[in-house]
Structures are given as C-alpha cells and as structure tokens.
Symmetry: C2
Subunit: 403 residues, 2 copies
C-alpha cells in the first residue's frame, strides 16, 4: 500500500486531534498504509506539499495529542472550488508524486464539500486509486445526518459547567442586590451550544437563532423573573436574530476580509436593553469566545472516544478501494449508554446543510429546553479522560506546523 494523508480544516475543537490520533494509532495496530502523513494547514498546505510524517508517533505523544485542543496540523480557510480545475489537478499530481492513496479530511461542512469535490473530480476524469474520506468535527453540532458530532460534547460540557459555576457566583448576594448574568455562546445558525447550557438546570432564559427574538417579550420575561427572585441567568447564541433576520448583535457584527459575517456582542446588546429598561443596574456578561471550542482540560470522555474511534474506523473502512467521497457518521443505539455505531454516507449529502436545534425541544417564553433535549445531550458530556499534566497544566503537543 501507499501512504495515507490526514489533514484538518475549519474551526478548532477540543477533540479534533483525537480523530487524528485514532487514524495514526489504527494504522500502527493494523497496518493498512506504509506511512501516515499529516498535511499542514489543510488543502492550502497540501497544495504547498507541506507534510509531516506521523507513522511512528509514540504512544505517549498519541495520548497527549488526544487531549490537545485546536488543530495540531493547522487549519485553513482556503476553499477548494469545483470549477478550479487547476487546484484539483495539482492535488492529484501531488498525491501521485508522493504515492498517497487515501486522504482523510477532518472538518466540518466545507471540508465535506472538499471531500465530495475531490471524489467527483476523480470520477469524472476516470482517475482511480485514490480515496477521499471525511471525518466530521464541529462544536456546533449542526452537521446533518450524523447523530453525534465529535467536538460538540466537550464544548457542551464546558458550557454547562461554566453556567453552573457562574450561576452559583451570581447568587451569593442577598435579594436586595438585583443581578443579571448573560452567557454568550457560539452558534451562528444553530442553537445547540447555547442549549447545552441547560444541562446545568439553572438557565432562566435561553435565546437561540431558531426562534425569532422579540425585545418586548424578552424584557417582560426578565422582569417577571427579577420580580420573583431578583437574579436572572440568561444564555444567548451569537446568532440570535429578529424576525426579519437582523442579528441581535447587529451593532457589533461586521463582515470580515473573507466575506464571512463575524458575529459578536449578542450578550452586550441584551445587556444594553436590560440597562435601558432599568431591570437591573448589575448585568454581567461572559462571552466564552474561542475558549468554549478549545477547552480540552474539561473534555468529555464520551466525546474524545467518539472522535478517536471515528479515526480508527475511517482507516479500516478505507481498505475498500471503492470507498471514496464518503463521510463517517455516527448513530446511537442506546442513548443512555452512549453505544455508538459508525457508518458512512455520501459527503455530498452533508456539505452545505445545517441541522438546526429542533423547535419542539424548545420551551415557550425562552424558558429553555425540554426533557427530550436533555436526554439527547446528557450522554454526550459523560466522563472525564485522565488528563496528563505537566507543571500543573495540561500537556499538549506543540502544533506540527510550529515544530
């Protein structure tokens, strides 16, 4: 056999490297490829032939890699376009030059589109001998079809823990001190991350992109809660929006140099409304920023295992010469036990779709989520891996692109 190549793309997660570790380890246990190479900075680095040999990674490095957040191979924002035959041709030349049979791409929506594009280009041009396989990751939990998205569980655990602990903090002063806390999570289009805060059982108000935001309804609800207990804990998705689609954070939203909408400040916007309506003089905000997707010190064991085993399965499935343009997906058989079944689907069917938080799992009046939502999310945050500590802090693998 030739080599396989692994690359990562899109936003980091706390377990994206666990999938990489699983791929490397799988090939050490059951040799399918002569070598496992990492491609640095996704497609962008592959086009520049920036590779690192991971074949003989030590077991210790593999263990530490599993607990290292963010992409150890580096990510890119370079989008491979199907009409860009120059890029596509170049990639196949590079794969041939280095005797690379299989490419595993760990990423989200865009990465699955890349997998589909490469497989389609090969089919169209009758190029055989290559496989392109997608391994999903996303903190947003918004990929369609797969019931479990590695990355979400750890982010959910971190968010729910943070909600629980900052709620305890919010409550320390007597009723005479009226206080409001607003936690902002990521989630441009889907409310999964914000909803995960409800696992803590303390959320008074939840605002997600799936339900149009109404300022007056919101303020009424805050007023009611403040009258009742003088403290109010609010969680909001960065992508919260009004009926007309305008973001709640509008004043703070801007378009970045790559044309993507950069959100931020939904919590600040709500804080402003609360202060203006004089519902409380004290309104603290916590925007979890990139900490929520990189909080590997609080990884969920269920999430790490799902990510790692996905990598293991991907290598095994790639033994089939016709296995290309596929994404590994996960199905749950027994939600309580978190027993997972790995299967595969066309990468094409995942790319460019978003799975929203189910409306029927949301309670009215921004009152959080239903028991069904909790039953779905709870298994995803179970367990804590034994974190290897050096000098009091989690050990990590220095990103390969910095070595």
């Amino acid at each position: 056999m030739g080599k396989c190549l692994v690359a990562q793309s899109g936003g980091p997660t706390a377990v994206i490297n666990a999938t990489l570790a699983g791929i490397v380890r799988s090939n050490q246990l059951n040799k399918v490829y002569d070598a496992v190479w990492g491609g640095l900075h996704g497609i962008e680095g592959i086009l520049q032939e920036r590779f690192v040999d991971l074949t003989e990674m030590s077991e210790e490095e593999n263990l530490i890699l599993r607990q290292t957040p963010a992409s150890a191979l580096g990510a890119c924002r370079y989008k491979l376009r199907r009409q860009n035959t120059e890029d596509l041709k170049a990639i196949f030349q590079i794969l041939d030059k280095h005797d690379i049979d299989t490419m595993f791409y760990i990423g989200g929506n865009d990465s699955m589109d890349t997998v589909a594009a490469l497989a389609a280009y090969a089919a169209k041009n009758h190029i055989t001998g290559h496989r392109f396989i997608g391994c999903p990751k996303t903190v947003d939990n918004d990929l369609v079809t797969t019931e479990v998205c590695p990355g979400f569980g750890s982010a959910a655990k971190y968010i729910a823990t943070t909600a629980q602990q900052t709620w305890l903090d919010l409550n320390v002063y007597p009723d005479s001190r009226r206080e409001i806390f607003i936690l902002e999570t990521m989630g441009r289009d889907a409310g999964w991350l914000a909803a995960s805060a409800c696992l803590s059982g303390i959320v008074d108000i939840l605002i997600v992109p799936e339900v149009p935001f109404d300022r007056e309804d919101f303020l009424t609800r805050v007023r009611e809660i403040m009258e009742q207990k003088s403290k109010c804990y609010i969680v909001v998705s960065e992508g919260a929006r009004y009926t007309d689609g305008t973001y709640v954070s509008e004043g703070e939203t801007h378009i970045d140099a790559f044309g993507s909408v950069v959100l931020g400040g939904a919590a600040n916007a709500l804080q402003q409304m609360i202060l203006e309506a004089e519902l409380s003089q004290r309104c603290r905000v916590l925007d979890l920023s990139s900490a929520q997707r990189s909080a590997a010190a609080e990884q969920s064991l269920a999430d790490v295992e799902a990510a790692y085993n996905m990598g293991m399965h991907a290598v095994e499935l790639s033994r089939d010469p016709s296995f290309t343009g596929r994404m590994i997906a996960i199905r749950r058989h027994d939600e309580e036990q978190m027993k997972l079944e790995y299967y595969d689907i066309e990468a094409e069917k995942v790319a460019n779709y978003v799975r929203n938080f189910p409306l029927e799992w949301l309670r009215e009046d921004y009152a959080g989520v239903t028991g069904e939502a909790i039953a779905y999310m709870r298994p995803l945050i179970q367990g804590s891996p034994d974190i290897i500590i050096i000098d009091g802090l989690p050990a990590y693998v220095l990103p390969y692109y910095l070595q």
Copy 2:
C-alpha cells in the same frame, strides 16, 4: 463550650467553601464547640439572625462542599463601620443570645476589617468570652503578609489553562491570516491574576496595573510581534491604567450604586487601539468575568488543601481564649513542595492594604514575568482534586441560603 459561627463575605472564589468544610470537619474530629453554625450572607444575615446548623454535616456533603464554588453561605456587601456602635452592640447581643463563643469570618480585606473592628469593640468595652478570627480568601492574591491566599491558586490554574488552550486555537491558521487575541482577567489594583497567565509560557504581552500603560509603546510592541510571527497573545488586567491613573477601560468603567468602581472593557479598549492602528483585522477578546473566580471544575489541589487546612487550623487555634482579632496566615517553607506553615497575625494589619505584584518580577516592554515569578506561582497550581460528578457535571452543594 458554646457554639461557633462561620460566615463568608466578599467576592466568591473556587475554594472559599473548602475553608468552611475544614472548620466543620475539624470540629467533628476534635470537638471544640457544641455546634457549628453558618451565618447566611455575612454580617448582614448575622444581624438578621439567619443561621444554619452545620455541626453534623455528612462526609459526602463535606467533600462536595469543597468542590462547590462561590459562597455556600452567601456573601454581603454590608460594611460594618467602627463608629456604628448600634450594629456592633447588636452583634454582641445576638452572639450572647445564641451562646456563640467564636466567629470565623472567611473573606478578604473588608472582612479582616470586620474581624478587627469586632475585636477592638470587645476590648474597648471589656467584653470577654468572644473570639473573632479571620480566614483569608481572595482570587486577587493581594492580601498583605500571607504568602499564600486561598482562591488565587485555582483562579491562576484556570487562567493559565485557558491561555494555553486559546493560544493553541489562535495559531491554527497559516501566517497569511494575522490574528490577535486579548485575554482580560480580574485585578483592579494588582496584576497577580493577569500574571498567572504567564504560567502557560505563551503570553506575548502582559499589561498589569502596577506598570503605567503607554499606548504607543504597546502598539509598537504589538507591531513587532506581528511582524515576527503574525499572531500575538495579549493578557491584560481589568485595572490596567495610564500614568495619570486613568483606567485603560475608561470608556466602559462606571461607578456602581455602592460607590465602587465597576471595571470592564480593558481588553475592548486595547482591541479598539489595535483595529485603529490597523495592526490586524482580527482581534478576538475573552473577558473571563466571574468564571475565573468560580472555576471549581479546575481547582488546584494545592489551593483546596491550603483553604481546607486553614479552616482546620483556625478551629484549633481558637481553643485559646485570648485568640481574637487575628487572621490565619500561610508561610511557605519549601516552595517546590508547597509545604505550608500556618501562623496568625493581627487582622488589623491586613485590612485595607494591597500587596502589588512585585515590579522586579516583571520583564520590560510588557514581555511578561521573570522566572522568580513563575517559581512563586507554579506550586500554587499543582494537582487536581478528584471531582465528584453527577450527570456529567461537577456535584455542588445548593447554597444554604437557597435551601
């Protein structure tokens, strides 16, 4: 013996309840008092005779209490003034009425002032039979004399871990993507918390209140770092200020209803400067808000033990009838091993003083801290307690004032 009373005050920490747990456990192991009562919401609740009996706390509750962040007894912002003889008289009447011999007050600067005030009032009025003992806690590490302040170690560990993990996140994209990250920590007057981020070894720029901030010097430094590696990791204290004392966050600072300055937005102010100077189009901000003082899921074991043992020692020391107006302090004998010696000092000598971060531990050009600073801080973040988990999240004791 009569009863003892424990109360908490000031801002929450991740281990303030460990000291409470130590007091309760100490009296179970070696009975000094007939009962251990908790006073709800500090001096404010004591004046209202709001008590809870903790004498027979189960071992399990005691273990969970140790890992519960924020004040389980509730805190207050009520300041006991020495000239307010009405309050002082009332407190002694209440103590006598309930046969309370000793009051342990777990708190910061203001709480030590309360301890000193009560002891002074008793001495002045020849009231005997009561002891007032302070147990320090603060995330800020700014209490004078004590070398170790319970609360700081856990906050430092959380901040350093967050810095490490968000730094990995910051770096994932290629050099072509210029990015800056700004982490804001608490620290109104002292830079300890911001400095603790340097334990991660990744901080490019550190801005603390102890060193006057200069906008041009700062921007020059950022520019140099960006030219060198296209990513820059900045940490700033909320209390960062210019030479004339104006806060960097000035635009966002306001005075709260109690006359305290509420800071916020130092990081946002720096972000604004960076965007205006066009040093980077991407500049993400993370203000850790109350999460940093309540992150008990990532407690430092060294910190929990210091807090717990302080409670144990306080009870033992209180056997001496003349032991009043004192604060328990901690001295380190062997920094590496974190061997602690508990001793006591006049509470008066702690109240209203601030211990700044030593200037000689700061490197020039905002370049972080020296090896001596790291050698001081490193032992404080060692170890992780076994956290009891329920349903995937840390178990906690529901605050007694909500039970």
